[in-house]
Symmetry: C2
Subunit: 448 residues, 2 copies
Amino acid sequence: MELKELQELMLNFISTGNVKELKELLEANYAIDIANALTDFEDDSLLLLFELLDANEIALIMEEAEDDFQRRIVEFIDLKKMVQVFTHMSSDDITDILGIIKVNQRKELLKLMKERDSKDIQMLLGFQQDTAGGIMTTQYIALRRNLCIKDALIKIKNIGPKTEVIESIFVIGINNELVGIADLRDVLISSDDCLLQDIMNENILYVYPDTDQEEVSLIVSKYDLKVLPVVNRKHAILGIITVDDVIDVIVEEHTEDLLMLSGVSKDEKIGSKLSVSIQRRLPWLFINLVTAFLASFTVGLFEDVIVQVVALAAAMPIVAGMGGNAGTQTLSIMIRSIALGEVDIKNDWKYIINEIFLGLINGFATGIITGFIIYLKYDNLFLGIIILVAMIGNLVIASFFGFLIPLLLKRFHLDPAVSSSIFLTTATDVGGFFIFLGMAKMFLPYLV
Amino acid sequence: MELKELQELMLNFISTGNVKELKELLEANYAIDIANALTDFEDDSLLLLFELLDANEIALIMEEAEDDFQRRIVEFIDLKKMVQVFTHMSSDDITDILGIIKVNQRKELLKLMKERDSKDIQMLLGFQQDTAGGIMTTQYIALRRNLCIKDALIKIKNIGPKTEVIESIFVIGINNELVGIADLRDVLISSDDCLLQDIMNENILYVYPDTDQEEVSLIVSKYDLKVLPVVNRKHAILGIITVDDVIDVIVEEHTEDLLMLSGVSKDEKIGSKLSVSIQRRLPWLFINLVTAFLASFTVGLFEDVIVQVVALAAAMPIVAGMGGNAGTQTLSIMIRSIALGEVDIKNDWKYIINEIFLGLINGFATGIITGFIIYLKYDNLFLGIIILVAMIGNLVIASFFGFLIPLLLKRFHLDPAVSSSIFLTTATDVGGFFIFLGMAKMFLPYLV
């Protein structure tokens, strides 16, 4: 169903108070599509709608809604009703909502929530949003190791509907420590008096709550996991991370990497407000302006040379530009390899030799063509040779810094995607102009 | 366990024929780690190892191994044993292996495989690798709609161990058409004589085998699915796509987007062979060289002006560079939005107005500073004004092309990530130099 059609139908049912058709409409559509449709509604329509709906229906919509919309709903909904809604939501989603609303609303909601739930939520709120603790949920099935299959199945049937994952049963020991994972398939086919510990897999992967979410996503994708338990230092299970949350993390991190590389904040989208876009993009442009002036001052140092050989002005953008392009190639591969956890600084620094060779060869290949064309155009062999040498030099600079900058940033726990490119451009612009114009100055008598 | 330690232990157990300890070692480690460890082994060690292992153990390793290693194993393993190994693997993994080995080996293997399995595989082999059909598996549970829960549970226990997903039971009608999905939780808690069609959810998402894998990943991540069925035009279920394969797709597509943007092929890694890296990167550099020459020729048109006002040579990289930076910001957001399916050409082209305004404002903000510094440095007000106007102009050009190029490429079914940046750089370089130097030529009397 088209967005507009959905919106019109809903508004119609809301205004006429047609609860039955409204609920059927919700049933027939996906919660995320409903949530998207509702973002355009006025407050009074939403208020009317939420009075007509049950807590579980609102929960489905809330879970899928964007941050802004969630915040808006909490603003005007009765907080007691919100607590009812929470009973139908998983703890990680509740925590996310509590994390973005006003402090007094959060306190009020926590007070209203049941003691036990609130404790879970309080714990989750204590973790950083971008760690394993921040994305885990507390809805899972954990059973004692000495439970027999018959009793286990009864518990699974009981708890199952409230959990996010049913395929994996987490098996715990006497102190709640995680000792294994039982596959529901094995539970279903085992005999009644068999114990969970007999069928569980003890070879399990887990993370701690402060593990970075990027590392979590690497583990889940490397080992093709459907769920990853989070344990504390005493190995007691605290929560689980489900694969749909991992997908969100992967998409988020990738968006960040791609956009940060060109100095755009990850939450900017097409259609963002003009004022927001300016705030997000202008600072990066100012930083780049400093780089541009560094390059410009470098050229300025050689103005006397350029006046005598004006061809240099036309040829110099080639040297700087090609260095930038070659460096960006190296940089992208490095940033991607770092993000995928494929690069280990200790073992892989030696590949800088490869990159430098690559710079030499690619610099020679592109430089020889450039040199030849420049020679033909200006009928000046020395100018051709100088640009060839400058391009080899600048592509080596590009390889060197394209390789090293992200590794160094990573080493100092900075995000390589954020600021690598600005350092690289500075190196290839300043380096390119300096080598090219510097050589021209040295060999000026041969050029004039 | 460290890679080296694992390798040493394995080699030791293989050479001494210590099957028991070897199997325990495999048990205690993850298949992917074992597979990674084995890639360094000599052929004869591998041959010995595979004689010691059972088909199901080899299957686990094969599933996780990289393409090159899979191809190597098929080269020397007895094909009859390989067919046994296949019986422990899921159909999508088998298809992937068959897709990368030699044609005669593939034919031989298909002949050796059982009639039914081979048909599934033949079907899967018929789909493009980057479509829903190419990534789906045929191991799923599909039961008739009029089956009662008691019988359904018996079938689930039977088929379950051979399937990739047990949480979702696909419910089919008389002609194998997919009519709903039943949640295993509901199956477990329903009464014995209840029918599957009474508890199934009819509101299901599905794709066709020729749906692009990128679209599949968007659907799975948008709707937080754990599994997505693939049906033919008559709605009969052909296979399912599991979330771990979707994660692989997402990671692959993101790598492609990030690397393609800077002209690197997605399969290049740190540590790739030098000859491979050159082949992958040099063509892009040559294409960029053409752009660089276009920019250079533009500058060359104004050599007479530069000779008279050499400050232009120092200032012009600022105009071109800032245009490139601003344009890349717009470009990255567009490419990301297109990849996430957030941009719809029909509805969203109007945001080009926003982007142009953004170019005006950011151009003015950076241009006024640049103009002021240039004015101070060269004590020439007109030069300052000209660079201000040129920067506004070039940042508008950057916004315009940064927005339009990826949309147009997408419109003509080309990958926006691949070639957008080269067109953009051409526009901002040539445009920037032309506006700046062109204005300088027009107002030359005021500059000298």
